[in-house]
Amino acid sequence: MPQHTFTLNGEQVTVDVEDDVRLLWVLRDILGVTGPKYGCGLGVCQACTSHLNGKAVNLCCVPVGRLKATDQVTTIEGLPATVGKPLHPMQEAWLEQDVPQCGYCQPGQIMTAVAKVLQARAAGHQLTDADFDQIRNICRCGTYHRIREAILSAQDKF
């Protein structure tokens, strides 16, 4: 069975699994990292959104065989460490706005939010309505309004 080595939340991991198994299942079913959630397996709902080398990806759409040993995978569990704090400012904002209801989509929402802010910042602007229209994450509890408020309040804090 092929071996795959990459960095997960700051630690190097090696797994024995077939190349085509998507990263979501490698993390959840083999490595026991359960922050990223399954919501569709189709790259649609965005519940598994995590970061690959600092950019947002849907783990359900990344075959583990595509990873290189130098690749850095960050899930919600590893997000605070990227800023060297107990909680990322985006998570703090989520708590301040009391965003979650059932909470199932929220790890993906937060990982998306951080990436969208960084993307807008790299393009030299603050988040606009057009940016929010690109946030595709489903929240079946309907917390969208508070998500918006939380992102706007956190975008200058990291």
Binding site: V17, E18, D20, V21, R22, L24, W25, R28, D29, I30, G32, T34, G35, K37, Y38, G39, C40, G41, L42, G43, V44, C45, L52, K55, V57, N58, C60, C61, V62, P63, I76, L87, Q91, W94, L95, D98, V99, P100, Q101, C102, G103, Y104, C105, Q106, P107, I110, A115, Q119, D133, R136, I138, C139, R140, C141, G142, T143, Y144, H145, R146, R148
Partner: protein, 763 residues
Amino acid sequence: MDNQELGRRRFLGYVLAASTLTVAAQLGEGADRADAAVPSLPEPADLYDLNDLLTDAALPTANLITITLNPDGTASFALPRAEVGQGITTSTAMIIAEELDLPLDKVHVSLADARPELLFNQLTGGSNTTISTYTPIRVAAATARHRLLEAAAAELGAPLAALSVLQGVITAADGRSLSYAELAVKAGSLTDLQVSVTLKPASAFTVIGTPQNRIDALEAVTGRKQFAMDVQVPGAMPAMICRPPTINGTVVAVQNLAAVRAMPGITDVAVVSTGVAVRGRTFGQCIDAVRALQVSWGPGSEDRASDATVLAELRAAENPLVTPPLPLLTAAVDARFTFHFASNSALETNCAVADVRPGSAEIWASVKAPLVAQAEVAARLGLPVGAVTVHVTQGGGSFGRKLFHDAALEAAEVSQAMGKPVRLMWHRTDDFRHGRVHPMSTSRVRATYSLGQVLTMDQRHTSVATEFGHGLGDAITALAAKLPVGGLTFAETIFSLTQQTPYNFGVTTQLLTEVDNGFHTGSMRNIYSPNVRCAQELVVDRLAAAMGQDAYRFRRRFLKDPRAVAVLDKVAQVGNWGRAMAPGTGQGIALHPEYHGFVAVLAEIDCTPATVNRQVPDAVTGPRVTKVVCAVDVGLAVNPKGLEAQMTGGIMDAIAVTLTSSLHLAGGTFQEGSWDNYFYTRQWNTPPELEIIVMPPTTGTPGGAGELAVAGAMAAVACAYGRATGTMPTSFPVNHDAPPAFTPLPTVPPVPQSPTDGISRAY
């Protein structure tokens, strides 16, 4: 004891024999009459063996809910309800913190396993949790506080009346104090005791009625919150089902069992009642196996059905509206509405962990009727009820879905068939196509009016049958003789107990007719109300127009209850009702009474071409609800912040079912298979302006909140749409009959493969 306390009602609590202070109260006792749809009923039913009942009833703790005061000064409580996002663990912790005088963060609320001795008192539905548990939980907490005071009085040698309690610390007049941690063991009892207690007056509340954040928010934002699929049960490997191409199709033969068993990671393949089950190392490999299976399928239950055939069936079954000859000067408004199938799929798909052994079974799942789940799993496996343990996990949304336990039953069957523990999860595509749906329905409404008065309002609702086989049914059936409606079927009973007209419209009748049992149905954040209210409020707008009156003032004039008038006035004022609106935009206003509460909603919508034709990839943009103002009076909001969240969520649901989200039935299968087919509200549909107003307490006792907003908001959005376009909408969602906005996924294989282009789409 002060005079105020003397005049207050006393309740019976219990101190239970335990090594640390453990108190209890009878669930149901002293609580206000539960919401009519969900009576709390300690009567046996045949799903629960009489012998089991007698055994459990003999336990000293039968029917009790229990709070434990831990030696570290914290309190623990296992809530016999399901938390699926509605915030009841937080509101319950608040109620305990209030009555126990303990900081909120020292109260731990978990979810109780199935407790058969509670009979029907372990059902989460009908927005009933706080209504039915508010008083019993307070009684238990007050009992603990009383017992701690007694222990402190003995320890400090001070009279009980001279002690004060603040934040888990009891202080004597001379300043000496003891914490609950120091008293927890001393306050325990060697024998069970009965204690008579009074409850805090509302004027002394410092926690109840204050906005509090969810107690599980930190776990949610750090990814630590554990849902069923996150629970680590040794050996419970991923499992999925290969499902039929049409609803209720059956397995005739499998051509390649051995080949699929030999696929990478796969450990087991077995034919079960709902399809072919596979178990493997990862869900990804299960998906591969499901897709590789070559199965001959037998016909399903609705293979020839489509939206058109079901609609025809409904129309044929409609109870006729008989029109007597109208007297002189009397006119009528007559309308018919269609509400299409909709999905109550949560973001967490149907799932459960099952570990079935010879002679016993253990289940982990988010289920709102764990007692029924336990009984049905036992029956399916051929085990006594007592041999089945059901652990209620945190739920990733419900919206009616988790009243049923389809995945728990399936997981148990698969685990038994394979002789191994399984972690069974439905694929998203299956969750839409084979999961529960909210039934298609029609509503006919006729109102007559004369000389400024509405004389009659008749509503005939005709619906594909809603399944109630989840415990609510048994509770109602057992209580049927005592209900104020005789001679009705079960669904008609529910309908008549939940549907009401808030207006004085003379002679009012609302009747339900049901057809067709071939679908897997259930409620969807309300059973009938959003559709029934939406139809009625649209007709109210028509009546107002026909009688030359403003839609808000017309409603106000006919409302029966001052609480309804107050919320309506509030949204009209805050939402600036009647302001000048640009062409193609409009306002709508509506009211909904239910669950001992009232909600009013004012919505503004933009139906201009520039907005409707906005482009977002793989999306339906359509008309945009630009502003929503909602005022809610639930009698007493335990946690106003949680209530706001429930209203917000209900509004998002209402926007979806009014404008964009429905299932299209064709050839015995629903066409939708992904969130890019089923257009639930997304960021681009969210109203930019949203304001929720929680009214000050009115009745002093909490009403239901989880479902309340959907009906009011659906009606308001529909009325706004009618005003903006100049045409009353009559088919919902309004885009249902538009050309399909997606290409349906194949039905064989039943689930699509996951994409592989994730890295190229990184941002």
